[in-house]
Amino acid sequence: MSDSSEALATHELRHHFENMEQQRGASSMGMWVFLVTEIMFFGGMFMAYLAYRYEYFVAWQEGSQHMNFWIGTVNTAVLICSSLTMVLAVLAIQQGRRRLTSVMLAVTICFAMAFMVLKGMEYHEHWLAHEFPGSAFHFAGIDPRHVEMFFVLYFVMTGFHALHVLIGIGLVSTMLYMNERGHFSADYHNPIENTGLYWHFVDLIWIYLYPLLYLIGHHHVS
């Protein structure tokens, strides 16, 4: 068993790397450099949030009251569980247990789907309450224009995050498919590790989005 995985591993060694160790170090460093670009991408949106929160604090409080507190909290828990199953998948493949890896990857996908479903319900709820920015938006409370800006930022930030969750689902499914085809082993599993890094990053962004969008006000309407 080991020599075939050994052969598999060397087969995977790209021609220009000296050894597997150098290739793994390079690929995880490359992934982290990519994640830094994602941090700066979302950083632009956090900048807009911070600037407008400073300017229109009353509207930010008012807008946050109309967030669905419970769906937000449950979604945070769902993403944390999906992070757990993802890291267990990486652990399983490191120990060469391919069956367990596939199971863990599948569970991660289910959690991610659950997150998207909950997010869809939440968006639908806001749509019905005329809280989607644009001509249909109307808001009875204080300072409606700046509250509309709060909802603009809510939909932009959670929208881009949901897009990254979708990309994550695509990546994890590809890993599941390739793992089923016996592409990975205890010696060669860089792609799964990098997909794990990407998925934990998506969770990390939500860990910050949750308090900033859902937890500003003190009493929760819904």
């Binding site: 830094v36 632009g44 300017e55 224009r145 700046h146 800006m149 603009v152 930022l153 932009v156």
Partner: protein
């Protein structure tokens, strides 16, 4: 490329290793990808140059009578976008960098060859979209896309242009990512950081900026796109959206972007000056760390583009102070280049002429930058032709001169052929004269108050504008010459040996054009960066 003549046919190298479209369009060899980039950016350079000529022709007369106002606005917008995103930013990193970074550190290829090819394809997709935008009506937001003009008051292809630049931005990110990992993880044994050529130091610093800055441009253009398409108006003034927020996000990338454009040029000059002075570079560590200093400090200065935009007084003073701090590393570099020539053995080959021209023109560009960093002066000269002259002195006088210097210096290594030296010198002189005639009058235009992006101007500015247009025609001719004789040299150029200039650096230790895997066996480096003391005292080609 397959026209390499019979003499070099028998030795296997990266050009004749394989033939046919598949071998080029699906290559993962960093040298072939560099040539693919060379062809694409030269194409875009001539498109941008064509727009520039139209602008200069339009400004011959005070009343705008060559093109209407809208067309003129499209001309300068697309001139800016095409030149910056599709020529200046990829020029040295993607062409010379792709070709030389692996060879200079003694590696077989970049860390991620397939991502390198993906980077070129993203550049081509972005470029194709920009071409489509140009051909179907163009975009008139300026290269700066300021809101609320770009989000609510224009009917042109703003979203299309934003998407094309978004994609080209990713190509730039992937190149940066590739270089950072390669330089960190794949250096040949003995190639310590202290022995790396300065070209690698400046490309490393450029990659830091590309990776950390470009995503913020991506998000600001995406927000403009979202506001235009789905009315999710983050910058919508009716909802309390702040146009200055867009400017902060835009310039957070766009100022470091000017360092993405100039740093590689500095790297090229730091290679050429020592080679043609036959002497080590003066103060190697200072020039190397100055590149990193520029990359890091370059991120703290962006709001000097916004001194009159309405930002607060105190914040403007903070950015003005940091703008003076970032000027220091550039000054160190210029002084070190000049000091390198002291007591050297100077050769006047074409790359050296360009490099000396670079020192002069980049110094003028940098010095006028000191005017702009000072708050009081900037209030008068910002948004005038003084600014246009300043950044053209750095982009065209600095960056394009350095790019041409690099192309002439490494052309023997790329093609195995020598370019015609006499024609090279003629082109360098024409470009130097044409450039100064075009852009020096614009300093005076700006100081006397002619605003930027004016389709029609008041009559008293006409004389200097005529001078500038005359210069631009000379400059255009100057740029055509190298393209002609480089292509000519592919068939008729003299045979260039492995090291025609007697230059230091691993890339000159292998054959030219180099084999696909660069080195027969991975070299071991035991010498310092610019060991010209134990290299031949004269430049073989010149003798």
């Amino acid at each position: 490329m397959a026209t390499a003549s019979a003499i070099t046919a028998e030795r296997e190298h990266y050009l004749n290793a394989d033939y046919g479209f598949r071998s080029w369009l699906l290559t993962t060899d960093h040298k072939r990808i560099a040539l693919l980039y060379l062809i694409s950016i030269t194409f875009f350079f001539f498109i941008g140059g064509f727009f520039a000529l139209l602008i200069r022709l339009e400004l011959l007369t005070p009343q705008g009578d060559l093109v209407q106002a809208d067309t003129y606005n499209k001309l300068f917008s697309m001139h800016g976008q095409v030149m910056i995103f599709f020529f200046l930013i990829p020029a040295v990193p993607a062409v010379l960098g792709n070709f030389l970074v692996p060879m200079m550190i003694g590696a077989k290829d970049l860390a991620f060859p397939r991502i390198n090819l993906l980077s070129w394809y993203l550049f081509i997709i972005g470029g194709g979209l920009m071409l489509y935008t140009i051909l179907t009506g163009g975009v008139d937001t300026g290269w700066t896309f300021y809101v609320p003009l770009s989000t609510a008051y224009l009917g042109t292809h703003v979203v299309l242009a934003a998407v094309s630049i978004f994609i080209a931005g990713f190509s730039s990110i992937l190149t940066g990512l590739n270089f950072i990992v390669t330089i960190h993880r794949m250096r040949a044994p003995g190639m310590t950081w202290g022995r790396m050529p300065l070209f690698l130091w400046s490309n490393y610093a450029t990659s830091i900026i590309q990776v950390l800055g470009t995503p913020v441009l991506a998000i600001s253009l995406s927000l403009v796109g979202l506001e235009r398409m789905f009315h999710l108006g983050v910058f919508n003034p009716q909802l309390g959206g702040d146009p200055l927020l867009f400017q902060h996000l835009f310039w957070f990338y766009s100022h470091p972007a000017v360092y993405i454009m100039i740093l590689p040029g500095m790297g090229v000059v730091s290679e050429i000056i020592p080679c043609f002075s036959r002497k080590r570079v003066f103060g190697y560590e200072f020039v190397a760390l100055a590149s990193i200093g520029i990359a890091v400090l370059g991120f703290l200065v962006w709001a000097h583009h916004m001194f009159v935009a309405g930002i607060s007084l105190y914040s403007a003073m903070v950015f003005s102070f940091f703008s003076y701090l970032v000027a220091v590393p550039s000054a160190i570099k210029v002084f070190n280049w000049t000091a390198t020539m002291y007591k050297g053995k100077i050769y006047y080959s074409t790359p050296m002429l360009y490099a000396m021209g670079f020192i002069g023109l980049f110094t003028m560009g940098g010095m006028t930058g000191l005017f702009l960093a000072s708050l009081g002066v900037d209030v008068h000269v910002t948004d005038t032709y003084f600014i246009v002259a300043h950044f053209h002195y750095i982009m065209v006088g600095g960056m394009v001169m350095a790019y041409l210097a690099g192309m002439h210096f490494w052309w023997p290594k790329i093609s195995g052929r020598m370019y015609p030296e006499a024609w090279g010198k003629l082109a360098a002189l024409t470009i130097f004269i044409g450039f100064n005639l075009t852009f020096f009058p614009q300093f005076v235009l700006g100081w006397t108050g002619m605003p930027r992006r004016y389709h029609a101007y008041t009559p008293e500015f006409q004389v200097l504008n005529v001078l500038s247009t005359a210069g631009s025609t000379v400059l255009a001719v100057g740029y055509l010459l190298p393209m002609v004789y480089f292509l000519w040299s592919l068939r008729y150029g003299k045979e260039a040996g492995d090291n025609p200039w007697g230059a230091a650096g691993l890339e000159w230790k292998t054959a030219s054009p180099p084999p696909t895997y660069n080195f027969e066996e991975t070299p071991v480096v035991t010498w310092e960066a610019y060991n010209y003391d134990d290299l031949p005292k004269e430049v073989p080609v010149v003798g």
